[in-house]
Amino acid sequence: MRLTSLLPDGEPNCLVLKVRQMLIMLDCGLGQEQLYAMPVREGGLIDDHHLKENNSSTTGSAGDITTGGTGSKRKLEETDIRQDWASFLKASSMQFPSKKHARGSHSNSQTTQPASSSTTTGATSSLSGSTDGTIPAAANTTGIPSKSASTREYMFKLPDFSGVDLKAIDVVVVSNYNHLLALPYLTEYTDFQGRIFATEPTIEFGRQLMIEFVTFFGTSVTSSPHEIIDRKELVARAGAGLYPAYTHADIKACIDKIQPVRFREHISLFGSLKLTAHSAGYCLGSSNWLIQIGTENIAYVSSSSTQQNLHPDLFDGTLLENASTVVATDLCPRGSFTYDNGVNQVCQTIAATIARKGNVLVPCTISGFLFDLLEDVHLHLGRMGLLTQVQYSFVSPVADTALQYSNILAEWMAPRKQEMVYIPEAPLLHGILLEKEKGIAKHYKSVHGAFSSDLKLPCIVFGGHPSLRSGPMVNLLHMWGNKSSNTILFIEPRMDVVSSMEPYENLAITQHAVQLDIRLSIDQLVDVMNKYRHPRHVLVPVSATNSRESDGTSELADTKRTTSTSSTRWSSYKVGESVQLGMGSLYESVLLSEELAKGILPQAFGNVSFAPIAGSLSIYNNQMQLKPASVQGRQLLSLYTQRLLLGVMNLPNLLAGLTAIGVVNMEVTESEGTEEKETGEVPEIKVGFELHGQAATIILREKETILKCDETVRSLLREPILKCFQCF
C-alpha cells in the first residue's frame, strides 16, 4: 500500500491511500494557513464602500494590499491565478513584518513551495524570490490598479492534486466536518467520479461550514469561480496555485454527491472493498474508518478524542482490534492545555469579564466542543451569580441551523446525552437556553439587523471565523475593541492566535488564548494502540516523531519515546512524500459450497488440520464461490494435481504391509552408501521379491522410496507403501 499526504502537517487532512488496485482519498480538507496572509474583509460579502466606512482606521493601510491583490486577480483572468498567492504573501509579509517571526519556518516553507513546484511561472518565481520592492512592480505589470472597481478576492491553496489521478479515485471517506472544505473543488472542478461517504452529521455540519466559508470568503458577485478556474490547471497545479472560493451552487451540488452513513454501517463496494465508520468521539458524527480490502484491514484514525464527559458518542476502539495498519492523523500538538484546565480558564475569563460589565467575543465555529463548553460556562456563571445579567449571542450565517440541528442528533451522542431524549428533553443545553420565553440565548445571521436592537450588555458572542479576517467578529472588534474591559477569547485549536490578531495590534481589548484541544495526543495514541490489539504498522504525522531511522521507522515524540518493536512498527509520513508499506500475504474471501465441503477429508497435525481441495471457483456478482468442478473440469484438474506424502519410511511397517498382500520370500539387503557408485554416500535398503511371477524391487533411502516393478503389479504394491505415510 502507498500513502501520500496532500496537505502539510497541522492543516486539515487530505491523504491518498492506494491499496492494491483501490485508490482511496482520506478526507479532503482545505489549507487554512494562507488565510492569515490575507487582508481583513468585514462581515462577509459586503460592498467596498461599506467596508471602507467602517473599517478606515485599521484597514486603511490594508487597502494597498487589496489593490495588489486585485491587480493580480485581473491578470489571472488572462493568465493564471498563481500570481495572487505570491503577491498576497509578499504584501502581507511587508505589511505585517512580525508575521514571519511568529510563524517561523512554516511561513518560509510556504513561500518557497509554489515557486519551486511551478514550472511555467518563471515570472512568479522571480517575484517571490526577490526583495520587498517587487510589489509595486507586480502591480504595474498587472495594469492600473483601480480602487473603485476593486473586488477583494480571497484565494485558497488546494491540496496538492498534481500527483494524483483524480479520475481514478474510487472512494473518498470523510472523517468530520473539519476536513471537507476542499470537497466542492474536487467534485465540481475536476473530473473526479468516485463515491463519497460521510456520516449524516458530518454532511450537515460540513455543509454549514462550507456556507460559512463562502459567506465569509466567497467571491464577489462580479465573477464566477467557474469562469476563473481553469479545470486543467487546477488538477495539474493544485499544490501551487491559489483559487477563489466556490459558490453556493457548488456546495449544494457537492453535498448531494455525498452518501450518508451511520456508525458501524457496512458499506460494500466493488466486491472487495468494505468501509465502516466508527465513532471517533471528537464531535457529532466524527468518524474513524475501517477500510477492508480482501482480508487486509486498515484503520484510518482521524480527529479522535477519549476526553470524558463530552456530548459526542464515545471513541469506538473496536476498529483497531482487527486493523493491521493504522493511519493516524490530526493529533493534538505538544504542549496543549488539558481540556479540563482549559475549560476552567475559559469559565474564569468569561466570568471576570462579565463581572466588570465587559463583553466577551469568542471567535469560533458553532459546533464541536462548543456545545459542552457552553454548559460549563453557563454552570459557572450560575454559581457566580452572574446569570441574570448575561446574554449569549450566536452570530453566524448558519447559527440557527447549527444550534437546532445539533439537538436532534441524540443517536450520535454519548449515552449520558441519549438518556435526555427519553425524558424527553433537549440533549444539549442550548436547546433550553434558546427557548423564546427565556431569552437567554439568541442567534443571528449577521451583526446587521436585529442583533444591535436586541443587544443587552454585557454579552457573550460566539461565532465568526477564528482567523478574524472576515465575518461578524470584524465588526464587533471595531465596536468593542477599544475597551480593555472587553475580552476576546480564542478557544479553537488549529489556529494561529498571533497571526489572527495582527491586523488588530493596536486595539485595547483584552486578549486570552485558551486553545482547547480534545484531539488525541501522541501519548494517548500510543495508549490507545496498546489497549487494543497491536497493529503491525502505525503511521503518524511527522510532527509527532522525534527522528526518522534509515529503515523508515520513527521514534515517537511521546513521553516514553516509543520506538518500533517487533510487533508494531511506527513510521511517519509528511506532505509531498509517499510512504510505501508492504502488506502481509493477501487473502480473498471465498465461500465454500456445501457439496464440496462434504467431500473433504481433513487430517490433523496437532491443532491444525489440512485437507486438500480442488474445485471450480465461480466469480459472480462480486462474490467468489468454490464449487465442485464438472466432469471435464475434474479431468483437467487431475493433470495438475500434486499429491503429498508426509512422514518417514519405516521398514517393519512396509514388510508387514507386503506380507499382508501375500508377498513371500522377501530378500532384504542393506548396503552402505559407499558401495554404490551412482548414489554416492546414501545408504539404502533394498527389498526384492516376486509377486505373481513378476520381480519387484523397493529401494528405501532416507528421503526417497523407489518401487521398481512391472505395470501389472504396481497397483497391488502401491497400497502397502503409501500406508507408511500420511498422504494427501
Binding site: 459450497s593 491443532n607 487431475s638 503429498l644 505415510f725 494427501f728
Partner: protein
C-alpha cells in the same frame, strides 16, 4: 442448515406479535406484543412454549422490538420483569423513548381504571426499559460473535424498523409493520438487497390495493368538513403517537387554508410530550419535514388545543382526536358513548381495529354494542372507515420481496383468508416458497450452507495465470469446463466471437485447506502450507515396466497408415518390407514416438510434453517415459515409466494414454 420459525402470536392473526426464530443455532424473539382484544391470559403470548422452566435468558439470544405499538411491545415488561428474561433487547431510539409512555398509558387504563391484576406496574416498565439497547438505522450490531443485526427504516410509525438478522451465511429479515408509501410525516420503508433466506413480513392489508394517498386525504378532509358544517361533532379515535400526528398535520393545514374556526381538540395529555418527541426525533421523519424544521417545526400546531373533559358538554361542532384508537377504553370510548346516539355526529376510524374491540364492532356495522354487562351503546352516528393505517398493501409487500430478493417468505400479522390469497400470488409471481404458519406451529426452511473461507490471493493469481496460459486466447470461455459440459460444442464454435470478449468466470482451483482453531479457514498453496508447518515430504518414486508387443504394434500402425494412403490394397508390399527391416529396427524409439504424438495430442495443450531425443525419453513434469538402458531392462523389454507420487494423477492419465497408444488394436 435449517431456519425454524414459530409464531407465538400474530400467526394468521393481527395483534400480539411474537415470533420465535432459530437461525444458525441462535434463538431470537421478534417482537413481544400483547393482544388488545383480550383481557385474560390470552392477552400475552404463551411464553411457556420457549421454556417450561422459565429459563428464558438461557434460551434466547436476544429480543428485537420493531416499533412502539403495543401489539408489538406490550408484553415486554411482563416478559422481562415478571417472567424473568434478562438478556439483550434491541429497539431503535424513538421506540425506546416512546414505548414506555404508551405502556404506562395502557397500564393506567387496565390496572388503575379496570382494577385488573397480574399486570406489570410502573416500576416494571422503567426497569424493563433500562435493559434495552437502542440502535441506529443501518448500524450493524454484533449481539455476540456470530449473531449480527441491522435495522432498516420501516416508515410505519416514528422509529419503526425492519431488522436484518444474520448468523454466518444464513440471514433473515423481519419487517415488523411497514409502509412502502411515504406519508405526511414519515418516509417509506427501504431495505438493501440483502437476499435473505427468509423474509418474515406482515400482511395486514394483504388483499387491499389502496387508491392514491391524495384522494384518501381529500376524502377524509371532506367528511370532516361536511360533518362540522352541519353542526355535528367528529370523533377520531387515534393512538397518541403515530397516525395522530399525520392527521393533525393534515387537519391543521386544511383548517389554515379554509380559515375554519371550528375547534380541534386532542384528548390525551400525552400530546405535548408526544410532539416534543417528534421534535427531537426529526431525523426519523421524512425529508420534507427534516429540511424545514429549522424554520417551522411541523409539530407546533396552532389550531389544535388540548382536550378538557369539561368541553364534552360544549355546544356546537368540534373535532376531537381521542385516545385510544380502538375505542376499547378511555376518552375515546367515553366520547363515543356520549355522541353515538346522534346521527349528526360522526366517528372516523382511521386505523385498524383488533377483533373484539368496540372499534371493530362499530366498523362491522353493529347497531347495539354491549361494552360491559351494564352498558349498551346505541350506534346512530355516521361511521367512516379510512384506511389511513400505515401498513404496506399487497403491492407494497410484493415490492419489498422484490427489493430484498428473499428466497422464502413467511406471512404473519394478517387475517388467514387474505394471507392465503397473497401466499398464492407470491408463489406464482416469484416462484419462491411462501408460508403462513398458525400460532404455535413450526415452519422449517432448509438453507444451502456455505462456509466462508479465505483464499490466498497468490494462489488465485497463480491459477488464473495457468488458466489463461493453457488456453488458446480465443477459447477463454468455451474451454472452461462448465461451458463445454453444458453446451453443445459445435454450437460453441459457431458463436465464438461474442463469447470471446467475456472474461473467464470460472477458475479451477487446487489447494490445501488449513483449519486452525480460532482462525478463519484458509485455502493455501499446498507446498507453502507444508513448508510452513515444517513437515518434510517424503519422495516416493514408482518405476514400472510397460510391456508391449513391438511387432504387432508396428504392423498395426503400418496397416493403419497404408489404409489411409492407398486403401486396403497394399497389404503385400508391407509384408515384405517389414520382414527386412526388423533386424536393426529401434522398436523402443518407434514406440516412444507414437506415445509422444498421442500425449501431445491429448494433454499437450495443458502441460508441456518434452521429447528428449538424446536421452531417448519423454518427460512430463516428473513423469519420465524412457527406453530400457541397461542389460537387465533390455531383457525384460517394454518401455519404462517412472514418476513421483506427487504426480500420481498425471501418471495415471499418462499410463492410460500410453496403453492406448501401444495397443495393437487400432
Amino acid at each position: 442448515m435449517t431456519i425454524q420459525i414459530v409464531p407465538l402470536g400474530a400467526g394468521q392473526d393481527v395483534g400480539r406479535s411474537c415470533i420465535l426464530v432459530t437461525i444458525g443455532g441462535k434463538n431470537i424473539m421478534l417482537d413481544c406484543g400483547m393482544h388488545m382484544g383480550y383481557n385474560d391470559e390470552r392477552r400475552f403470548p404463551d411464553f411457556s412454549y420457549i421454556s417450561k422452566t422459565g429459563d428464558f435468558t438461557e434460551m434466547l439470544d436476544c429480543v428485537i422490538i420493531s416499533h412502539f405499538h403495543l401489539d408489538h411491545c406490550g408484553a415486554l415488561p411482563y416478559f422481562t420483569e415478571m417472567c424473568g428474561y434478562d438478556g439483550n433487547i434491541y429497539m431503535t431510539h424513538p421506540t425506546k423513548a416512546i414505548c414506555p409512555m404508551l405502556l404506562e398509558d395502557y397500564r393506567k387504563i387496565t390496572v388503575d381504571k379496570k382494577g385488573e391484576r397480574n399486570f406489570f406496574n410502573s416500576q416494571n416498565i422503567k426497569d424493563c426499559m433500562k435493559k434495552v439497547v437502542a440502535v441506529n438505522l443501518h448500524q450493524t450490531i454484533m449481539v455476540d460473535d456470530d449473531l449480527e443485526i441491522c435495522a432498516y427504516y420501516a416508515g410505519h410509525v416514528l422509529g419503526a424498523a425492519m431488522f436484518y438478522i444474520r448468523v454466518g451465511e444464513e440471514s433473515l429479515v423481519y419487517t415488523g409493520d411497514y409502509n412502502m408509501t411515504p406519508d405526511r410525516h414519515l418516509g417509506s420503508a427501504w431495505i438493501d438487497k440483502v437476499k435473505p433466506d427468509v423474509l418474515i413480513t406482515e400482511s395486514t392489508y394483504a388483499t387491499t390495493i389502496r387508491d392514491s394517498k391524495r384522494s384518501r386525504e381529500r376524502d377524509f378532509l371532506k367528511k370532516v368538513h361536511d360533518c362540522v358544517a352541519s353542526g355535528g361533532n367528529v370523533i377520531i379515535p387515534v393512538f397518541a403517537l403515530g397516525r395522530a400526528q399525520e392527521l393533525c398535520i393534515l387537519i391543521e393545514t386544511y383548517w389554515e387554508r379554509m380559515d375554519l374556526r371550528v375547534p380541534i381538540y386532542f384528548s390525551a395529555g400525552l400530546t405535548e410530550k408526544a410532539n416534543h418527541f417528534y421534535r427531537l426525533f426529526i431525523n426519523w421523519t421524512n425529508e420534507k419535514i427534516k429540511s424545514t424544521f429549522v424554520h417551522r417545526n411541523m409539530f407546533d400546531f396552532k389550531h389544535i388545543r388540548a382536550w378538557d373533559r369539561a368541553y364534552i358538554d360544549n355546544p356546537g361542532p368540534m373535532v376531537v382526536f381521542a385516545t385510544p384508537g380502538m375505542l376499547h377504553s378511555g376518552t375515546s370510548l367515553e366520547l363515543f358513548k356520549k355522541w353515538a346516539p346522534d346521527p349528526k355526529n360522526m366517528v372516523i376510524m382511521p386505523g385498524f381495529c383488533v377483533a373484539g374491540t368496540v372499534g371493530s364492532r362499530v366498523l362491522a356495522g353493529e347497531k347495539m354494542i354491549k361494552t360491559d354487562s351494564f352498558t349498551t351503546i346505541e350506534v346512530n352516528l355516521q361511521v367512516k372507515n379510512l384506511s389511513f393505517s400505515a401498513h404496506a398493501d399487497a403491492k407494497g409487500i410484493m415490492q419489498l420481496i422484490r427489493q430484498c430478493e428473499a428466497k422464502n417468505v413467511v406471512l404473519v400479522h394478517g387475517e388467514k383468508s387474505s394471507m392465503g390469497f397473497l401466499k398464492s400470488r407470491i408463489m406464482t409471481e416469484f416462484g419462491i416458497p411462501c408460508f403462513d404458519p398458525a400460532n404455535g406451529t413450526t415452519v422449517s426452511i432448509e438453507t444451502s450452507h456455505v462456509i466462508p473461507i479465505e483464499m490466498s490471493a497468490s494462489l488465485l493469481k497463480q491459477h488464473l495465470i495457468r488458466q489463461t496460459e493453457t488456453q488458446d486466447p480465443g477459447m477463454t470461455t468455451s474451454s472452461s469446463p462448465e461451458h463445454s459440459s453444458s453446451d453443445d460444442n459445435s454450437e460453441q464454435s459457431d458463436f465464438k466471437t461474442p463469447v470471446d470478449i467475456r472474461p473467464s468466470d470460472k477458475v479451477l482451483i487446487q489447494g490445501m485447506l488449513v483449519m486452525d482453531d480460532g482462525k478463519p479457514i484458509r485455502l493455501e498453496d499446498a507446498d507453502d502450507v507444508l513448508e510452513k508447518v515444517g513437515m518434510a515430504d517424503h519422495k516416493v518414486r514408482f518405476e514400472v515396466r510397460k510391456a508391449y508387443n513391438a511387432t504387432a504394434l508396428r504392423r498395426a500402425v503400418e496397416n493403419a497408415e497404408s489404409n489411409e494412403r492407398q486403401g486396403s490394397s497394399a497389404m503385400d508390399t508391407d509384408e515384405s518390407q517389414t520382414g527386412n527391416s526388423y533386424q536393426e529396427w529401434d522398436s523402443d524409439g518407434f514406440a516412444l514416438n507414437l506415445v509422444y504424438v498421442a500425449l501431445e495430442r491429448s494433454i499437450g495443450k495443458q502441460i508441456k510434453v518434452v521429447r528428449d531425443e538424446e536421452d531417448n525419453s519423454i518427460v512430463i513434469r516428473s513423469v519420465k517415459i524412457r527406453a530400457p538402458t541397461d542389460k537387465d531392462e533390455f531383457e525384460k523389454g517394454g518401455l519404462l515409466v517412472g514418476w513421483d507420487y506427487r504426480d500420481e494423477d498425471l501418471a495415471t492419465r499418462v499410463l492410460s494414454i500410453v496403453t492406448l497408444a501401444l495397443s495393437a488394436n487400432r
